[in-house]
């Protein structure tokens, strides 16, 4: 083999090893109830068939969906460390309380030192170190939130007396909104997808809802408490606007939160139903087209 060919081979091998270490991942963070095996990034029980397309290198970030977001945030940090450090970058998708736990994690730990990992997880969902170095925060391109419950749900406001599920306590509207600064996303966008096919709890959930979470939360409306927001067809209620614009009535959205989908035809409810259903299906379509 002549000298030039040897040099070309060497350069190519270096390039291959460098590029092979860089990948994009799509992380799916579940909401209340959970269902997937915690620590197993290929366990899709919560969402639907694992064979369904759901973005490049999809990973199911499972947490128990019942404990407090604070106590489970470590599961999210493990996943972000695994797939979103070093040369690897992530798209993150959340459902319901997954928005709360992702926002909490970003706001409180988004600027912390993270040891770079090798994207190969053990059975607990913890990955090995890559080169031993660290970086500030994670590599996240954007977050898409299906029925985001970062602003809580009034269904938690009618909870039981002195014992209740810790996550339900977190989801009380006043608690969820005081838990962390929702504006602190480190300039990473949260794209919000708000469903409106809800009737069962219309007397409890204000404005439009998807049977579990109302527009004030799924639309990322800022404030220490909820409120009533609707589709433009409802004249008796302020409109939730698309994008980052102030809502009708003047209320603002959290910074770096943008409404990508408002369910004007009231066609999508809250529930994935184990088959990528409801508002999750809308987000999945968007993810398939953009998480490349």
């Amino acid at each position: 083999m002549n000298k030039v060919l040897q040099m070309v081979l060497a350069v190519c091998l270096m390039a291959v090893s460098s590029f092979a270490a860089a990948a994009n991942y799509t992380l799916w963070v579940n909401g209340r109830t959970g269902g997937g095996v915690v620590g197993n990034y290929d366990s899709w029980n919560y969402w639907g068939p694992g064979t369904t397309a759901a973005g490049v290198n999809k990973k199911s970030v499972n947490w128990d969906g019942r404990s407090s977001v604070a106590s489970q945030s470590g599961k999210i940090r493990d996943a972000l460390d695994c797939f979103c450090t070093g040369n690897n970058w992530c798209y993150v998708v959340t459902h319901s309380a997954g928005d709360l736990i992702m926002g909490y994690t970003m706001a409180n730990y988004g600027g912390s030192a993270r040891v770079k990992k090798n994207a190969t997880a053990n059975s607990s969902g913890v990955c090995g170190d890559s080169d031993g170095s660290a970086q500030t925060g994670w590599n996240i391109k954007w977050v898409r939130a299906a029925s985001g419950a970062g602003g809580g749900s009034e269904l938690s406001d009618v909870g039981s007396w002195t014992t209740s599920e810790p996550l339900v306590q977190d989801l009380k509207t006043t608690t969820a909104r005081a838990m962390y600064n929702h504006n602190t996303t480190r300039s990473v966008w949260f794209y919000m997808y708000a469903g409106a096919k809800g009737t069962a709890y219309s007397g409890v959930l204000p404005g439009q809802d998807d049977e579990a979470v109302a527009y004030h939360s799924t639309g990322g409306v800022s404030g220490s408490s909820g409120g009533s927001y609707c589709n433009p067809s409802d004249w008796l209620c302020n409109d939730l606007t698309l994008g980052t614009a102030a809502n009708e009535g003047g209320s603002l959205k959290w910074s770096y939160h943008s409404v990508s989908f408002r369910d004007d035809s009231e066609a999508y409810n809250h529930y994935a139903n184990g088959n990528w259903g409801g508002i999750v299906g809308v987000v999945r379509s968007a993810v398939v087209n953009s998480a490349l």
Partner: protein, 403 residues
């Protein structure tokens, strides 16, 4: 992608080995020109090539590429603009719900009974003065029933009990009865206005040592109907660090730093937030400290970033107010212990001019990493769109040409 790259590289190696090394430079030109459009466009299928998509399908594909370009451009441009200031020093306009942290949290919801169903004909206006309670602090609750048109409905509080929420199987806490009144005393500012108020001070009750969520259940009657309401507060009975000394200021690296000293009893990650107003009292910036502190005296710097001052041109001097902070405990529930709150004015800066204030953008390894990646994505999206149909222009960028 890596597999495709490997195949391409192996093919290139094989081709180089086959053709020898004497004409390396021209080969690169041949390879680079291979993907360029060649000759006139035909509507019919070219032998040996897949059929081109139908016009509508092609339009859909281009639209998808336009959307990807728009997303990549927006991601890059907004990040570049947003990260000009560090995460710990932001314009207050970007934190609309953090301006006045000590104002009561108010809500209006349909009255609810034991059946959890809402009654849209009776609205319940509620407020609570705090959600997170530091050791020794009190919280005031109030409620009032109104019709949808705003008319007050007479209300009677029949029972109000506070207790700590415990996990199933754990011994329950003391139950603390609360008195709600509409007599213009205590937390009730106006007598006889239909709003009833009560105060809970956990430190003065059997809940003094309880750490976690204290739920106050209020049962009431309005318009002859029974209703139930819950207020939750998260109480932190221990003080992890105390404020010591006098707050001071310094101009550091072109930014204004409000420096508060804390005596840390329990080391760990501390999250401390302060609000900065300009000289006219207009909310200007939100400063957040989020770092790990060791035991003993520590300085906590709340920074007003130099460029933020230059861009915002606030009336000087700036004033720090309403500082709150907590020890953040990883993977724990409850996850925090609150420091004593500094409510109201904390420190007025002596800095009366912009002398020494830097207009340089924030820079860090994190910012560089993000901008590099987002610029790469933007460039790739622009190239994909341009290659798909070179006859159509790439839509303009929100922040300048692609480099």
């Amino acid at each position: 992608m890596p597999a495709a790259l490997i195949l391409a590289l192996l093919a290139a190696i094989g081709w180089l080995a086959w053709r020898g090394d004497e004409t390396g430079a021209p080969a690169a030109g041949v390879a680079s020109g291979a993907g360029q459009p060649q000759g006139p466009q035909f509507f019919g299928q070219v032998e040996g090539r897949p059929a081109p998509p139908l016009p509508s399908e092609r339009a859909r594909q281009r639209q998808q590429l336009v959307e990807l370009w728009t997303l990549a451009d927006h991601t890059y441009c907004s990040y570049r603009e947003g990260s000009m200031y560090p995460a710990g020093s932001r314009p207050m306009s970007q934190n609309p719900d953090q301006v006045y942290p000590n104002q009561p949290v108010t809500e209006t919801n349909a009255m609810r009974g034991e059946d959890r169903k809402g009654n849209p004909n009776i609205l319940l206006q509620t407020s609570q003065s705090r959600v997170y309670l530091a050791a020794g602090e009190s919280v005031a609750f109030s409620l009032r029933a109104v019709e949808p048109n705003g008319n007050v409905i007479p209300l009677v509080v029949t029972r109000a009990i506070a207790a700590g929420i415990v996990t199933t199987g754990t011994r329950s806490t003391t139950q603390v009865p609360l008195a709600f009144a509409d007599d213009g005393s205590g937390a009730d500012p106006v007598a006889g206005d239909g709003a009833f108020a009560g105060v809970l001070t956990p430190a003065q009750t059997g809940l003094a040592g309880f750490h976690g969520t204290i739920r106050t259940e209020v049962r009431y009657t309005a318009a002859g109907k029974n209703g139930v309401l819950i207020f939750d507060v998260i109480y932190s009975p221990k003080v992890p660090a105390t404020w010591v000394g006098t707050p001071r200021e310094a101009l550091e690296d072109g930014s204004l730093a409000f420096i508060l000293r804390a005596d840390v009893r329990q080391p760990g990650r501390y999250v401390v937030t302060g609000r900065i107003d300009d000289a006219k009292g207009r909310p200007f910036a939100l400063a957040t400290f989020n770092e790990v502190l060791g035991p003993g005296p520590n300085d906590i710097r709340l920074i007003v970033f130099g460029k933020l001052m230059v861009d915002g041109a606030p009336a000087l001097p700036l004033r720090l107010r309403d500082v709150d902070g907590y020890l953040l405990k990883e993977n724990a529930d409850p996850d925090r212990e609150l420091m004593p709150r500094l409510e109201g004015p904390v420190l007025t800066s002596r800095t009366q001019s912009m002398k020494g204030v830097s207009d340089a953008e924030f820079n860090s390894e994190e910012r560089t990493r993000y901008l590099t990646e987002f610029a790469k994505d933007r460039k790739g999206a622009a190239a994909s769109l341009a290659n798909f149909d070179p006859s159509l222009p790439v839509p303009p960028s929100a922040c300048g040409p692609v480099k």
